[in-house]
Amino acid sequence: MDKYYRLNKPECREFIAGLASKYKVVAPVKKGEKNYVFSEISSPDEIASGYIPTIIPPKKYFFPKRETLIEYDIRAQRQKAVMEYEKLIIFGVRTCDLAGIQCLNMVFSERPRDVNYLIRKNKLIIIGMECWDYCDEHAICGLMDNHQPKGGYDLFFSDMGDFHLIHVNTLVGEEIINSVGVFSPADEKDLEKLEKFRERKRKAFKTSMGVSHQQLKDIFADAEDAKVWEDLGERCLSCGNCTTVCPTCYCFDVIDEINLDFKTGERFRIWDSCQNEDFAKVAGGESFREERKGRQMHRYMRKFKYPLKKYSRYFCTGCGRCSRACMADIRIKETIQEVIKEKGLSNEKAGIS
């Protein structure tokens, strides 16, 4: 049976302080007026309350923006694989971001496996945090069915008012509970209360998009020729904000850089974006996605069409980051609405799903 513990609110501070004294802990902290970032904390006071999704999702710990892969020595014809990792507790991961990590796990587990990612992933401890309502108008986690916890964490916190209810999902999670002695086992009544909260939550996360989770894939099935891409192409500045902040965008470039001795050097990878001018450029200067409309279409298809075939799931988590970060106000909700308008939501289509 699933294991649950309770943690009274006053002792939560003690728990975080205890964690921070033993491990490196990162959590959402406030940045500027209305932004949040995952950042190292040393005291519970630094954690932001009521945070919306951070600028960059926790993918930055699993798949750093710049990561050394190989160190080489040309003269000696030697190369050495490099693994950069550290043990880290990521506290306060929302269900949308848990879903994002699950997507990346699938991608990087495919053969040939990405050893750097997989080794690092094993050193990361994830403590999730439940949402009871939409964080703002951009979130579509309800539509993407990522508002409820579906694993992918070691511990999961649900705020029950005067206490937290904690679901233990892994042995590592259990060890943390045991090592910081401020928890008490949850009883029947606590679990009943959780069920009641979750019932209320189902209503709070009703979508008003006029399309169901299943129907989404049907409207995107043949959306390549939709006119909405032209509109997005005219507005998009190619600043790459949408892909940088997306929890499931994982494209990277690999670059060799030699040291000044001109003998030794390193090969590193760095985040790249399908929105960038040079992304689809090949030798001779030809670009396969010269126009912005094609790049935007590609981005959406990589969330709502292509991954369904390959991974049997959407790669949009519903976090809403792309809408928040877009300079040109390209909103994922509006784009979906436009695609529905053009492609229609006939009963026939609904039937296919």
Binding site: T54, R235, L237, G240, F262, S273, E277, D329
Partner: protein, 247 residues
């Protein structure tokens, strides 16, 4: 390996970019293992002799400059345009906003006849440039990268994406969200969003991306209620000499 002879030259500029070389720190010792400095006014008094690589700071603003840069180009195997003034014309380009006679009189008063002046030009508007190190001042890690490429005969490609990419990597709060106009969305990256990391806006000192979405940018300005000429003026501060690229 024989050391490559490198000479630094300056035209119209503040020489601040050359000062950045002196600020590189420990890496400078490694650089000096590879190169022999034959001319560098900012840090040494010796000068003259042959050189393989010419690092040129400053923009071309007089007829004398035109002759001199052509001479340098003839002698150098490799020419590196160094800093905004050399790469885009830089702040000196603001001269091109005015009538040249007026400019001369404003600066030299009754002695204005003693001087000639031509519209400000970036180095590549006069001679062929092999490598570009953009920025005001240059970003030292990028200069080291370019120098390594130049010494090994490898190409260096200035990133052709917006400063926003790097700014987002660094998780800065967007300047537009703070109600401040920033040139990040149309300016070439490569500086690791140096200015915005430190709370300043992007001034567009690295020049514009090759394919900016002009209409899209105008829409964004409308959304934030920013008049177009604010952006044009800001952009002209560094890029007036390359007018054809204007918003």
């Amino acid at each position: 390996m024989k050391k490559v002879k490198v000479a630094f030259f300056d035209f119209s500029c503040c020489e601040g970019c050359q000062l950045q070389v002196a600020n590189i720190g420990d890496l400078l010792l490694d650089i000096l293992e590879k190169i022999e400095l034959v001319e560098f006014r900012e840090v040494m008094s010796e000068r003259g002799g042959d050189y393989d690589v010419a690092v040129v700071e400053g923009s071309i603003t007089t007829e004398h400059d035109v002759k001199r840069i052509k001479g340098i180009r003839e002698k150098a195997k490799v020419l590196i345009a160094y800093g905004s003034c050399a790469c885009t014309g830089g702040v000196n380009g603001m001269k091109n906003n005015f009538d040249l006679e007026d400019v001369k009189k404003y600066v030299y008063r009754d002695k204005s006849d003693w001087f000639n002046t031509v519209p400000t030009m970036a180095v590549d508007q006069v001679v062929k440039v092999d490598y570009y190190v953009n920025g005001c001042p240059v970003y030292p890690p990028e200069f080291v990268r370019v120098l390594k490429c130049a010494l090994r005969g490898m190409p260096y490609k200035v990133p052709d994406y917006a400063v926003c990419v790097e700014c987002k990597f660094n998780e800065n709060e967007c300047m537009y969200d703070k109600g401040v106009t920033c040139l990040g969305p149309i300016t070439r990256a490569g500086c690791n969003s140096w200015c915005t990391n430190n709370g300043n806006i992007c001034y567009g000192c690295r020049g514009m991306v090759s394919n900016p979405n002009k209409n899209g940018q105008k829409e964004v300005l409308k959304k934030y209620n920013i008049p177009l000429d604010w952006i044009v003026n800001k952009f002209n501060m560094y890029n007036k000499a390359k007018e054809s690229q204007q918003v």
